[in-house]
Point group: C2
Chain length 240, copies 2
DNA sequence: CTTCTGCATTGATGCAGATCAAGGAGCGCC
DNA sequence: GGCGCTCCTTGATCTGCATCAATGCAGAAG
């Protein structure tokens, strides 16, 4: 029965429930059994967001947590004077809702069209309480995020503009690869401004650095992305 | 019996076990019952480190996890060419061992004399498996660390040198306050170089910024620390 | 087709913080 | 006391990236 929907439906996310969810194995839900997934199904709300639409805003009451199913979300913090730091880009399988107490610790909005699976905070809380293996999975996600954050501190505190851009491109390539899209052409749906705000640079510096890498024949700029021409050199720069 | 040691011993850490541990309530161990603490006691090794001594090294096999009982530990990552980013300073109550898989993700060494409570990885792993409330507590610690890391990204990516120093001083003040030592005099046992490597600056810039703040009558430099003279102004700078 | 609008690129100039280079200042040790 | 050592401060200069300012360019609207 589930199989019908899962195997035959085109839009497997919307209609077939968690069991057929295409990011299930990459997400926190991979820790759950078939019976638990059916339980989960009743609690989840699928939501679609257009590009630039807001998922949630920093310091607002944290009503929901989200699993990203499709698309890209930018996560960022703002200072009162408008300076912005993007703290990460969420891809399918990523979970939003680790680093918050009663209010969201950062803002999130859709880079492109995003489909997400939302849970109310209360449903989420009771799920976590009832299922230690889910908690364990969430903890793995949290420590992984923490490791990434520490890498990013190294990048922001000590690396040059060129190193930052190269590390960013390699990281994005690896993230797409883990999602089953390995390619030397790295999709970059976000704007130059987003990249700049993620890397602690200005848009001009990002642009100049990409042109320099193009002139070096290290990369090739393509529509909505970059093709990596000399990954050996890039890995070398990223390591050192 | 435990009470005797706990109440009467001067060196309560070494002899009286976990129940008498002075950082228990601030540490991950606060989630454990009295019986569990006795169990824990058998698994823990108290260790002392002199200033500058190494607790563990990045990329080495992760043999142990640690609760810091006393003193300060610097946590840092190095690039092959020697550039260093300090990713945090651990104080009593802090747990070291969240962000690692089989190898340590960063290096750690003692800033001053440190006393720590160590557990083997295997003991730690089985403990976590057996006790969901401990896992929950660890997860809280992890998400808190993640929030701090995100704040630090904002600081490193978008704040000026003066803002970085001021945020740092206020954060250290608040951390000491939480440990029951609230004071306008903030102890800074780490070197200027450590502060610089934490804030993504050079030692000269840290020094100059501190002298500027002194001339402003915002702070007063005292031996091994700083007295905050104008916290209102500092809070204002930190917020904006 | 033209104009508009929102990025992205490119160039000229400026400046915050890095780098280079001397001194202090505290402190243990002979 | 004097010497060496480490850490900190201060000054002079340099530079990588920011800032300021056009210009390009592609898709949307008219």
């Amino acid at each position: 029965m589930d199989c019908q929907q899962a195997a035959c439906g085109n839009d497997s996310r919307r209609d077939s429930g968690c069991l057929a969810c295409k990011v299930r194995l990459a997400s926190v839900c991979a820790s759950l059994s078939v019976e638990e997934l059916e339980e989960l199904n009743a609690l989840s709300h699928h939501t679609a967001f257009d590009a630039k639409e807001t998922l949630f805003v920093q310091d607002h009451p944290a009503h929901s947590v989200y699993n990203i199913v499709e698309g890209m979300v930018r996560l960022y913090k703002l200072l009162p004077d408008g300076r912005r730091q993007i703290i990460g880009f969420a891809l399918p399988g990523d979970f939003l809702g680790l680093a918050m107490r009663d209010a969201f610790g950062f803002s999130a909005d859709a880079v492109d069209s995003v489909s997400a699976c939302a849970f109310s905070r209360s449903a989420y809380a009771s799920l976590v309480n009832a299922k230690p293996h889910l908690l364990r999975r969430l903890h793995e996600f949290a420590t992984h995020e923490l490791t990434l954050a520490q890498e990013q501190m190294m990048l922001l505190g000590r690396r040059s503009a060129e190193e930052r851009v190269i590390c960013f491109l390699l990281t994005m390539r690896d993230r797409w690869a883990k999602l089953g899209k390995p390619s030397v052409t790295v999709p970059l749906p976000m704007s130059r401004q987003d990249i700049a705000d993620f890397l602690g640079l200005t848009i001009e510096t990002v642009s100049r650095t990409l042109t320099k890498l193009t002139k070096d024949k290290t990369i090739l700029i393509v529509p909505d992305g970059v093709r990596l021409l000399n990954t050996d050199h890039m890995e070398l720069v990223a390591a050192a």
